[in-house]
Symmetry: C2
Subunit: 225 residues, 2 copies
């Protein structure tokens, strides 16, 4: 049994279990027994549980950030000089995610859930790792967003980006559960691509909303400064 076999089996099992249950709620014993390898194999090959978590992210994120950089390059080239629109920028991101070669059909949604967990679970080491390793495509995406919404003040744009992040991370992090609910309630099947196709126009509309609302509607009791 070659090394890579054990390593990959651990990564596969860890990825799925982390996505299902979260990081702290998944023990090394669950991972190694699902992967059918010895308990000590994780510490032997990765060093620690935290390092295993990083490896799970790196296996997806490293090729993804390369794909994303290419997509941004292509987009900027196609727009030669002019800044890409908000829709173009958002689509470049979602398409890069959707087009990533998948290990299996659940690959994307598993990974989206992991990204959502990374944001919501306060795993300090993980956030630090992600910031160190993948700051460049993130900064570039932020710059594109800025150029695509020149009408927004810095403060407005800042908050609306947070809103977008929230809607995305939250939805993706529970997309399996949400899909199941929808399946049971309305009998509708949904793919991750369809979710993305619904999410992008929602985000774009919110991002470009006119805020005629800083004063609450007539009849309400509280004046919002």
């Amino acid at each position: 049994m070659a090394q890579s076999d054990t390593v990959d089996r651990i990564l596969d099992a860890a990825e799925e279990l982390f996505a299902d249950r979260g990081f702290s709620e998944t023990s090394l014993r669950m991972i190694t027994s699902k992967a059918k390898v010895n308990l000590a194999a994780v510490n032997y090959h990765f060093g620690s549980k935290n390092a295993l978590i990083h490896a799970v992210f790196a296996r997806f994120l490293t090729p993804f950030s390369a794909t994303l950089e290419n997509a941004f390059d292509e987009l900027e080239e196609r727009c030669d000089g002019k800044p890409p629109t908000l829709n173009q920028t958002l689509w470049a991101l979602t398409e890069s995610a959707v087009r990533m070669p998948q290990r299996n059909e659940k690959g994307i949604s598993i990974f989206m859930r992991l990204l959502g967990l990374a944001y919501t679970q306060s795993q300090g080491h993980l956030r630090k790792f992600l910031e160190q390793e993948y700051s460049e495509p993130f900064s570039r995406f932020m710059r594109l967003l800025k150029e695509a919404t020149p009408q927004l003040s810095s403060v407005d744009r800042y908050w609306r980006i947070q809103f977008m992040l929230g809607a995305t991370a939250f939805t993706m992090s529970s997309s399996d559960a949400l899909r199941d609910i929808l399946q049971n309630k309305l009998g509708v099947e949904t793919t991750i691509q369809e979710i993305a196709a619904r999410l992008v126009p929602f985000l774009a509309a919110g991002m470009q909303a006119e805020d005629a609302m800083l004063i609450p509607p007539v009849g309400s009791k509280v004046s919002v400064a």
Copy 2:
């Protein structure tokens, strides 16, 4: 030392620690030492750690759901017969949240973060508890949303509600950190009311977006079914 003192100190400490670190990542020993009570006090007063988690939610959610019911009553009365608009419904919700009497100035944002965690961490017992205890105001809010967006299909509405939830829970759950960043970067102070005032138009715009976007913009490579 009266009972209520110990109970409240435990609830205060638990609320803050859960919000900071998540449920599984917070041990009873952390809680009791922060609250300066004996370790056994939690099991004595609440029965178990899960029951403590429920109590933390109930302390906020019970008065809040009463306030919210009143706000909805008032709103529907004011609209006599006609369904309230989306903006009115969203404002009724946010105002009820903002107007809740707070134990301290961080009360709201702490609780928003807890709600976000409840959704993302797969704590089965918690979801079951919340569904059993607070299904009524939740269903009512959903009904109001439905009446305020008759143009949306059930599926569209379902997903957009998830997007709204996500943007709200995520933003509110990290609003302290986000406010700090904004303060340092741009030197701007922000209150929770102002965040709500920015969030509501974002949500309303997203909710009412025309989805002319189910086919990606010209020039993109992937057709999304």
